[in-house]
Symmetry: C2
Amino acid sequence: MNGLRTSELARQGGINLESIRFYEKQGLLPKPPRTASGYRMFTPDAVRRVRFIKRAQELGFSLKEIKELLALLLAPDTTCADVRVRAEEKLRGIEQKIADLRRMTQTLAQLTAACPGRGATGDCPILGSLDQANPRSGSGS
Amino acid sequence: MNGLRTSELARQGGINLESIRFYEKQGLLPKPPRTASGYRMFTPDAVRRVRFIKRAQELGFSLKEIKELLALLLAPDTTCADVRVRAEEKLRGIEQKIADLRRMTQTLAQLTAACPGRGATGDCPILGSLDQANPRSGSGS
DNA sequence: CTTGACTCGGTACCTGCCTACGGAGCGTAC
DNA sequence: GTACGCTCCGTAGGCAGGTACCGAGTCAAG
């Protein structure tokens, strides 16, 4: 038999062996045929699949979303548009996250800039800001 | 007694009642004195503490880090510099996350731009890219 | 005194993504 | 034929940050 064993798929896919079984359980990898004694026999196709999953993860897709992408991929009547919609949604989601994080960095940057870097904590604008109920991250009205 | 009860602290702090007990267990809130029958009696100070936690969370600090911040805040010999170091570390961490996310959006944006939005999935650059082992997120060499 | 709202504590559950363990069976090299 | 390593499976654990449930006790009003 020339199918890949689990560990070989894990190696070629660059993930942990246990993750293979985990993905299979989650429905991300198709249940492969087995040898008479129950060993999984993966085709090289499975390596592509694993890499697909990894790449999609790197693009910010959750396993759940990747599962949907894979379902789309396999559905005969899926169009490119279906896929693009997912990508665009994800894009917007990530942009939203970036905006959130940027607000955080702005506030943090302002606070660290205002912090003299010495003296007691009582004068620290960072702690001071955190202690305010509703700080405007500067001198409020 | 004029101490706040748990639910009142939760309300004023803007968090769930159960979270109060959770934070206490995690060491984020000091164990408050109790009435004879075991009810927690919080001082108004606890409201500040809860809001501190919430604000720090909004700035991207994990509960673990917030606990450290609070410890700093309470240590008598903490200087402003100690606090600023934390804030700067967090700032760098968040900037790193932003950079990661931006790479994702760039790739996704390129892919969706390249996607015609119609036709079969076989032609879809998005799925195609995910299927590649080592895509350069554009037209490779 | 009873009712109803509140609180207590512990524990279990949740999402997301794995990772580890243990005991059994399989396969191959020597 | 046996020793070693790989594989099987189910289950448990772990991080983060809570949320939910339960039975029992408490408090204040009527």
